[in-house]
């Protein structure tokens, strides 16, 4: 349960320990989050993240979540909620892919960024609706509105997820559940390793700060950095040059 200052105490990371999710988790653990569930693919990175969170004072559980295995999502995530209320869930699985027009690779990008993220979010939303409280944070991307350039497959998947999450925001209004869509620009993280950063690039820590502010303010859409929200009126080609 959140406390009187609106500080969450339990946190679910769907997509495991992504750089952005970890930065957010570390900040929340430094305040009141005590129970963290890492739902992601088993890996040394997931274990290392669990150890870091435990060291910071959290009780850490892991759950094996693979975005591709949509038939398992209800059980894997359902079990997490059965163990206790989840105050905040971050859906942060992502796969950048490339510009190859390879149908199977394109399907992978759609599965991780859109289909799997959506099914996971639906299971979380349903459980939170029964709790009548909770915040569901869905990681979209600024590129969701600009499917062009080398990552347009990724952008197209993110625009599907973004549309879904905005619809979910409406569907859950009045249920006590807060849905928040986060649209970061270029973030220096594992996802973008090897890609040349554009003019405006941020860090996982900056995104984490924006997520915390958004949770506190109960924002429905969060741009990171905030200025990106103002750029939507500029022509797409200009924006691409600034944001990558």
């Amino acid at each position: 349960m959140k406390n009187a200052f609106g500080e969450p105490q339990s946190l679910l990371l769907v997509g495991g320990a992504s750089d952005i999710a970890m930065a957010t988790a570390m900040r929340l653990v430094r305040r009141r989050v005590r129970r963290v569930i890492l739902a992601g693919r088993p890996s040394p990175a997931r274990d290392a993240a669990a150890a870091r969170l435990a060291e910071a004072g959290a009780t850490v559980e892991t759950a094996d979540f693979d975005a591709f295995r949509v038939e398992e999502h209800a059980k894997v995530i359902g079990d997490v909620f059965a163990e206790g209320d989840v105050d905040v869930a971050l859906v942060a699985c992502g796969l950048l892919g490339d510009a190859d027009l390879d149908p199977l690779k394109a399907a992978d990008v759609a599965m991780v960024n859109y289909v799997g993220a959506m099914t996971a979010a639906i299971v979380c939303a349903d459980a939170m609706r029964r709790q009548t409280h909770g915040a569901l944070v869905v990681f979209s991307s600024v590129s969701a509105g600009r499917p062009s350039g080398s990552d347009f497959l990724y952008a197209s998947a993110k625009s599907g997820l973004d549309a879904f999450a905005r619809g979910l925001t409406e569907a859950l209004r009045g249920s006590g559940v807060h849905v928040m869509v986060v649209r970061p620009g270029f973030v220096r993280s594992r996802l973008t390793r090897g890609v040349t950063p554009p003019a405006i690039a941020t860090s996982p820590e900056t995104v984490a700060g924006a997520v915390l502010d958004g949770l506190r303010a109960k924002s429905e859409i969060v741009w990171v950095p905030g200025i990106l929200g103002q750029l939507t009126r500029l022509p797409g080609s200009v924006v691409r040059r600034i944001t990558g």
Partner: protein, 434 residues
């Protein structure tokens, strides 16, 4: 959910949605407890606890005020249904010469809430807490069976102070205090600094049944006013009258209660108090001055207020002074700051009062740096062997609870034996992993 209701405590922080039902007879309770739905059930009295103990997000909440019968007084004992308020009890019994054994600073609490939080009053040093005066209580358990518990039964002490988590209290038998009048003889002393407040309060405890001190946390010295009172004997009539405005002053501007206005009020209060005086006052004006203003909690605006009450053992005076100094330096303004010395505890496993110094404060939730400040105060309190009051808490770090309440492990274990499916659930229980 049929009757979806947003519930909060008196502090109006952390609202949550539940199905609220108001049973009119004891028989209606059993089926609700046996099949409460997936999110469990909790009893609620008049919602005067400040935080979230009488809330149950997504589940069922039983408004107990429909069960409010008062039995006849026999040899100074009365058996009542748990939903009766102390307000009604006083209205009915004071004219007959009886007073509740313990009354908090508001009459608007139920007997069920008084037992579940094992409440204390200004007579704690002399008479103990509410649970000390309960001789029997009926508890409806998770198995749907109602048991009569007496102080010889360990489950009695799991329930006194147990915040509703052992079951629904349906009835209680209470030992009443005989009174000759409905007046109080009130002695007042003005004290220029915290040390003299503490000394005077210690002296007052030896001479008077009801004592407490108001402390001006904004003043550099921690000056205050000490009151020591007793029931007046013979003479004045016994009628119990309490004036009250029903609606709260919702029109008062938000932010009226700030550091500056509070400083002014405190200075004014202090200045107009005589150095030493003796007055005869009506019961209500002595015990429940705030009840005259209906929903005064609305003065704090939509974000509400955070109450903080702790006790540190006798001998930890340095901690108490350090805390008062910390608060003063933090510029957090507490509107009502009350100091009280507790006597021995009742034996309730999660009961709050233990021998020592107790300070209660209330802050607007929006006070800058408040979350951080209170975390630091918790550490000082825990280090000194003290604890915070669950009926007022809304933000404690869960890991400090076992340090503050050594019987917590026993409580957790017994709760799970009595209620393996954890049917009795509240936001407080979830927040603090009770």
């Amino acid at each position: 959910m049929a009757n979806k209701t947003i519930l909060t405590g008196w502090g109006r922080t952390s609202p949550s949605v539940a199905e609220l039902l108001r049973p009119g007879a004891e028989a209606e309770l059993t089926p609700l407890v046996l099949a409460p739905g997936g999110r469990g059930v909790i009893a609620r009295g008049l919602g005067r606890s400040y935080g979230d103990p009488a809330q149950n997000a997504g589940g069922l909440v039983l408004d107990m005020t429909g069960l409010a019968a008062i039995g006849p007084v026999r040899d100074g004992y009365v058996t009542v249904e748990a939903g009766v308020s102390l307000h009604r009890l006083m209205r009915e019994l004071v004219p007959e010469g009886w007073f509740p054994p313990v009354t908090p600073a508001t009459r608007q609490v139920t007997v069920g809430g008084a037992v579940a939080a094992d409440i204390h009053g200004r007579n704690h040093h002399a008479d103990g807490s509410f649970g000390n005066h309960v001789t029997a209580l009926d508890l409806l358990g998770a198995d749907g069976v109602t048991r009569t518990l007496t102080p010889g039964d360990p489950d009695f002490w799991a329930t006194v102070g147990g915040m509703g988590l052992t079951g629904v209290i349906t009835k209680a038998t209470i030992r009443l205090t005989p009174i000759e009048t409905s007046r109080m003889i009130v002695n007042t002393w003005k004290c220029p600094d915290l040390e003299s407040v503490m000394t005077r309060l210690t002296q007052a405890d030896l001479a008077h049944r009801y004592t407490a001190a108001w402390v001006d946390c904004l003043s550099r010295q921690g000056r205050g006013v000490v009151e020591g009172a007793d029931h007046a004997r013979q003479g004045a009539a016994r009628s119990f009258r309490a004036r009250g405005f029903e609606a709260g002053p919702g029109f008062l501007p938000v932010g009226l209660l700030n550091r500056h206005t509070m400083g002014l009020v405190n200075r004014g209060l202090y200045a107009t108090t005589k150095r030493e005086s003796v007055q005869v006052r009506p019961l209500a004006s002595f015990f429940h001055p705030l009840d005259r203003v209906g929903h005064w909690n609305r003065l704090y605006g939509p974000r509400g207020l955070v109450q903080y009450q702790f006790v540190v053992p006798m001998g930890a005076e340095q901690t108490l002074m350090k805390i008062v100094e910390r608060i003063r330096r933090s510029h957090a303004a507490s509107f009502q700051t009350v100091l009280k010395r507790f006597g021995p505890g009742s034996g309730g496993w999660l009961s709050f009062p233990t021998p020592g110094w107790s300070l209660s404060l209330d802050f607007p939730t929006t006070t800058k740096g408040l979350a951080w400040l209170l975390d630091r105060l918790d550490e000082l309190v825990a280090e000194a062997g003290g604890r915070v009051y669950l009926a007022k808490d809304s933000r404690l770090r869960p890991e400090l609870l076992p340090v503050m309440y050594p019987a917590l492990a026993a409580f957790r274990e017994r709760r799970r034996e009595l209620d393996p499916r954890l049917v009795f659930q509240s936001d407080l229980a979830r927040r603090l992993s009770l």
